[in-house]
Symmetry: C2
């Protein structure tokens, strides 16, 4: 390989860090790739840090010590999250999204890879400071946002099923009551999904009374695990008291009225 | 903002392009961000292209004309896909993954955000040259790989349900036969998910006889749409003849024997 110049080193480092959020790369690894001294790389990393600061591209963090290195932390500023939530509201507050039964059609939004990635980045910003091992979600519509949150935080995702599956092997089944309509539902999770003692964050698309979230909190106890955070894309304004104490939501559903063709979703920020 | 130097411009361009696969950014947009001339930016883009070539980081493509600009195409070389598939095989070919009934436990692999992203990148490499509008999958385990394929190709994802949901509004339901066990299954898709005339690629985690894939092909016809490609993570070696003519798979399941504790999965490349 020809001699590698500074722009090339910096460009390559940024490409690799950006595509692998939260993953630590040692200076040795880059040293081998570029055949250059550690001191040169340290200077490069400082430049990369400055670039990310200057253009608000997220954070570059360095870890000292033997296992040390550098990684990319895709945080969004409060302002950027707020803007994003307001853009989402503008997309969602369209009367043709109201579905018979007073539901809101959101499939095009939650399944958009670009939007779900940004949702993941926004939700991740609230949980970056916590120590935890897994992101947990429940099928089906929570999966995209949970997967993207997991990607941004670089943690494995665990998907709870609504019924047991042969491909899960031995599983723990649990019945729970939905918070709003008090229907009995089942959740099921493969026994080997979670090691005892794990800390998890539950991510879902929607929360009304919080029955599902409470179900997950209880299911985690069956696994001798602990839910240390709950985050959703959208929560209803009413009931104000949810069945889980603490949660983060990006959007608040204030009103959806099928007859009056009214829908009001607001940013929570 | 202070004067912006070449490394900063190149680093920022690479950050933005990498985080937005297949999305076209105009030179004007970067020109405004950096307050610099188009000729300077053209030189920068050439350098970015060279960096991506030199370090095999994917492709940077430029589009001429009024709507022109530059975008990142995350292709993997055949060699990299092959290596990745072989790493996957090493992970999968473990006898403790065999589940009663002769199934294979893969949840930890398909729900890993890092692995599913690379799966998406690998599968996307086979479909980059096709013209199409949507990625389609069916719940539940196909969603992560399909979402990541959609992200890499920057196309919206459509998720077919196994039963109708209130939040889908009006939907088309279709019964179909699984190819291997000839059981009747249902698939359901919200009517507004797909505009008439759309071309789609179906992505799923697993294919045995291809009954589900054929079901999707038929469902697409009900929507006056066309499936122009099928890609899966793993297909069984037998039956050799699948119910769809053409498909791409990353892995081939040659054998899984619960009694003999044998599992043989190979790379398809």
């Amino acid at each position: 390989m020809n001699r590698i110049n500074k722009s090339e080193r910096i460009g390559t480092i940024i490409k690799i860090l950006t595509e692998n959020p939260q993953k630590i790369f040692t200076l040795n690894k880059f040293g081998e790739l570029f055949e250059c001294a550690k001191s040169t790389l340290s200077e490069d990393i400082d430049i990369v840090k400055n670039i990310f600061n200057k253009f608000e591209l997220g954070e570059i963090e360095t870890v000292a010590g033997a296992a040390g290195g550098v990684f990319y932390k895709p945080v969004m500023t409060k302002d950027k999250i707020k803007n994003f939530c307001e853009e989402l509201c503008a997309k969602i507050n369209q009367t043709d999204r109201i579905i018979p039964g007073g539901y809101i059609y959101l499939n095009d939004i939650i399944y958009s890879p670009e939007i779900s990635y940004t949702m993941g980045k926004a939700l991740a910003s609230f949980f970056q400071h916590l120590e935890f091992d897994y992101i947990v979600t429940i099928e089906t519509k929570g999966i995209p946002i949970a997967l993207m949150t997991a990607r941004v935080l670089n943690k494995p995702l665990v998907v709870v099923r609504k019924e047991g599956k042969l491909t899960d092997g031995t599983a723990i089944h649990m019945n729970y009551l939905t918070g709003s309509s008090k229907r009995i539902q089942t959740m099921s999770l493969a026994k080997r999904s979670l090691p005892k003692g794990s800390k998890v964050i539950f991510i879902d698309d929607f929360m009304k009374a919080g029955g599902t979230a409470k179900g997950i909190v209880d299911l985690m106890k069956e696994f001798e695990c602990e839910a240390v955070g709950v985050g959703v894309l959208m929560a209803t304004k009413e009931p104000k008291e949810k069945l889980v104490e603490d949660y983060v939501t990006l959007l608040v559903l204030e009103k959806v009225d099928e007859e009056k063709k009214e829908i009001i979703v607001k940013s929570s920020l």
